[in-house]
């Protein structure tokens, strides 16, 4: 019997991530992700409208719990995601290299992702203080304004920077207490799926982040017109897609953000203003009663 030193490798099945589970697309469709040289990397789920709708249900279901968590706890979970990513660095570098990055580029991208998660972990319980106000109204009321999460965010991740773009998009959205559905970069989807595994082992509740793979042109209209989505974000400069998103988003007045000019690898790729793009300002009033007629100077 002939023996060989080379053991047969177990190939990974790249599935999608909805509600903390890893299903295949309900459509049963797939597409082939390959390297620039045409080397086949994986059969990847070609998600359908139904997958997106399932993901919205999961995201909406997770919103109350996630937004209601202590900001400190959200910070800890983002930190935990960074820890998990650090531990699986090698796998991400390997996948990025399969998707045509050089080793140096891949190492740099993964390190940036980890640092970015740490950066937003710290913001979880701080941006509110920066963007809140106590308002000195002229009447006898106590009045304050605080940011609150917008809700369910549908995000189409950048096609370049397939891992860094994805992480840079997700982190501020969930740091602010939102839940999201993210469509991974079409031609480089491997890291997005593996990142879902990191999320799944990081105490992040199921449904807070849902990651789909598929065709942007097919799914983009659904991202923009679903009535239970509160905000939509798109990262390419394609003007006809931008126009369509704003038009369809008008159906329920989704908040729309375009990040086509952001350089994710630079300092400008992170800031609390990204968190604020998915926040609403709530103002609360309450009367002040002057009990017993006490005057200033007590």
């Amino acid at each position: 019997m002939a023996t060989t030193d080379k053991r047969l490798e177990i190939l990974k099945t790249y599935k999608i991530y909805i509600g903390g589970q890893f299903p295949r697309t309900e459509s049963g469709r797939y597409y082939i992700a390959s390297s620039n040289k045409g080397l086949k990397l994986a059969n990847v789920c070609l998600c359908s409208r139904k997958d997106f709708r399932d993901a919205v249900v999961a995201a909406r279901g997770a919103f109350g719990g996630w937004s209601g968590r202590a900001a400190f706890n959200r910070g800890q979970i983002l930190y935990r995601i960074a820890e998990m990513l650090e531990g699986r660095k090698a796998q991400f570098i390997d996948e990025l290299m399969k998707q045509d990055a050089s080793r140096a580029q891949a190492e740099n991208e993964v390190s940036l992702c980890i640092d970015r998660l740490i950066y937003y972990s710290g913001w979880c319980d701080k941006f509110q203080q920066l963007f809140s106000t106590v308002n000195p109204v002229a009447s006898s009321h106590f009045n304050f304004s605080v940011p609150e999460p917008t809700g369910v965010v549908a995000a189409i991740a950048p096609q370049a920077d397939s891992l860094l773009g994805l992480v840079s998009l997700i982190a501020p959205i969930i740091a602010g207490g939102n839940t999201c559905i993210v469509l991974a970069a079409h031609s480089k989807p491997l890291c997005a799926v593996t990142f879902a595994e990191v999320l799944n082992s990081s105490d992040l509740p199921g449904g807070v982040v849902n990651i789909l793979t598929g065709k942007v042109s097919e799914l983009i209209p659904f991202f923009a017109d679903h009535m239970d989505v509160n905000a939509v974000v798109y990262c390419e400069a394609d003007s006809s897609n931008q126009k369509m998103i704003r038009e369809k988003a008008a159906m329920n007045l989704k908040r729309v953000s375009f990040y086509d000019k952001v350089k994710w690898a630079h300092e400008e790729g992170q800031s609390p203003y990204f968190i604020m793009d998915f926040q609403e300002i709530k103002t609360t009033w309450h009367p002040i009663e002057n009990i017993g007629g006490a005057k200033a100077g007590y």
Binding site: H141, S240, Q242, L253, Y273, I281, T283, W285, H286, P287
Partner: protein
């Protein structure tokens, strides 16, 4: 009417308390027979050559005629605003900009009485409200934002705020002068120039404001005020040289605007409709809560986007609250808005009165029980009695759609969770109200309401320092406070 079993005295205002008419003198207000468009610092005849009448909704008498701007007029106004922006306003030191805005604030204060009278004549709101609320709050808004002009570097940590350019601003008829102030003041403070269009039924106070702007010697073109109806608004929205659209009005039109500017670099802030829930718990001070509910729905005839038009009352106090509300609306004086005793003035227009009456019919057809005040209303003009609906289902149109009139839909609830669910079950999210004596419950409720402004143990309070604006389909962006600056700057 069913006999009431209670030991509380009923309020009686109808016998010995007959109030003599107390009309505010109209002599302090000068209304010209005709108004032109305020473009580039001058009142100019419209290129359209068209004018339309504006009437007093309380008497249906014509007050004046105003110009109807067509797209050429809009183009002229935008051109003036662009020129003023590039050549004057964006180059001017911020502290100088501030002083112009302070001037406007002071002049509005000086002419407050005149503004109040004209606001009431043109829009139908009680003189007490225009005198004590609309005009002073408008002046305060200018005063507040004037001070921001030279302090913007403190408002956006680690960033620079730069003006957007020319802002196109379209405002509604419910608070004509105040909405003009809410739009113009932050836009100018942040270094933008403005083309503003007041609503077609209430153009006069904006045109009086134009007189002040002229008198304040504001550089020509920095503020342009043009009148017209929907077509004029559309011409502003679609003008290619406008950088920013600020709109207050219906959700329906807000959506049209978002679609219209899709594919352009224009930014928008939209302050749209609402269907606010006002929630009374059984531990609330009920008399105070009833006053708050009355103010919440009947302030300005209910023509308020944040009006508390849905009332949720905890079951154990439901009957008592409904009885108190029925008693209280009997005491409301519906009549001539220029009379200082009037509580509820005229409905702003015939069209709006028809809309309100349509909803009153729908409410009855859907099975809700209607109760109206037995008060008399003037024979001329557009009036609507204060109206309550009980036995309302959450799915009824009067509980879901914005009526924009003095119509309150009342429902009951048992638990906190139930009322949170019901209150948030709306496409809108502009405002909400909570009445309870328990502090921890207040914070639980105010945190859970998906709405931009939440009043606890109060309602319908406004202040220049306090951000106002909605969640969900009530629009986006804030007006007021430091957050209101965001609407008019690019952060770089």
């Amino acid at each position: 009417m069913a006999t009431k079993k209670n030991n509380t005295l009923k309020l009686k205002f109808d016998s010995a308390r007959k109030l003599a008419p107390a009309p505010e003198s109209k002599s302090a207000a000068k209304i010209d027979p005709q108004y032109d468009l305020f473009i580039n610092g001058k009142f100019e005849k419209p290129l359209s050559k068209k004018y339309f009448a504006t009437i007093n909704p309380a008497t249906e008498e014509k007050l004046s005629v105003v110009a109807e701007a067509n797209s050429s007029d809009v183009n002229k106004a935008v051109g003036a605003a662009r020129n003023a922006y590039e050549k004057v306003w964006k180059k001017m030191p911020a502290r100088e900009r501030a002083k112009y805005i302070y001037r406007i604030a002071r002049m509005v204060q000086e002419r407050a009485r005149e503004f109040a009278i004209i606001e009431t004549l043109d829009g139908g709101k009680p003189i007490r409200e225009s005198r004590d609320f609309d005009v002073p709050t408008a002046a305060n808004h200018f005063f507040y934002y004037a001070g921001w002009a030279d302090k913007l570097e403190y408002a956006f940590p680690n960033r620079n705020a730069v003006p957007m350019g020319v802002a196109g601003q379209i405002i509604p008829w419910n608070f004509p002068l105040l909405m003009a102030a809410w739009k113009i003041a932050p836009a100018l403070a942040t270094g933008n120039t403005v083309v503003l269009k007041p609503a077609e039924t209430t153009p006069l106070t904006a045109l009086k404001l134009a007189e002040i702007i002229q008198e304040a010697d504001l550089p020509p073109g920095v503020v342009n005020i043009i009148t017209g109806a929907g077509a004029t608004g559309a011409a502003i929205v679609n003008h290619p040289d406008i950088n920013k659209i600020a709109f207050t009005g219906s959700t329906e039109v807000g959506k049209i605007i978002q679609r219209a500017i899709a594919g352009t670099p224009k930014k928008a802030t939209l302050e749209l409709g609402g269907k606010a829930a006002n929630i009374i718990f059984d531990d609330a001070p009920l008399d105070q809560a009833v006053e708050g509910v009355i103010n919440g729905i009947f302030f300005n005839q209910g023509h308020v986007c944040c009006a508390g038009s849905r009332l949720y009352v905890q079951e154990s106090v439901y009957k008592e609250v409904v009885r108190k509300l029925k008693d209280r609306i009997e005491t409301l004086i519906v009549g001539d808005p220029i009379d200082k005793n009037t509580d509820i003035g005229a409905i702003n227009s015939k069209a709006q009165l028809e809309t309100i009456n349509k909803y009153i019919r729908i409410g009855q057809q859907e099975g809700a029980e209607m109760h109206q005040s037995s008060c008399s209303v003037p024979g001329k003009g557009f009036f609507c009695r204060p109206t309550l609906f009980t036995n309302v289902a959450q799915s009824n149109r009067i509980a879901q759609e914005e009526i924009f009139g003095p119509v309150l839909a009342i429902q009951s609830f048992r638990t906190d969770d139930e009322v949170i669910e019901k209150a948030n079950n709306s496409a809108y999210g502009l405002s909400a109200g909570v009445w309870t004596d328990k502090g921890s419950k207040i914070f639980n409720m105010t945190t859970k309401m998906r709405a931009g402004v939440v009043w606890a143990n109060t309602f319908n309070k406004f202040d220049p320092t306090s951000p106002f604006g909605g969640y969900k389909e009530s629009g986006y962006g804030r007006e007021g406070g430091v957050h209101g600056l965001n609407a008019y700057v690019n952060i770089v």
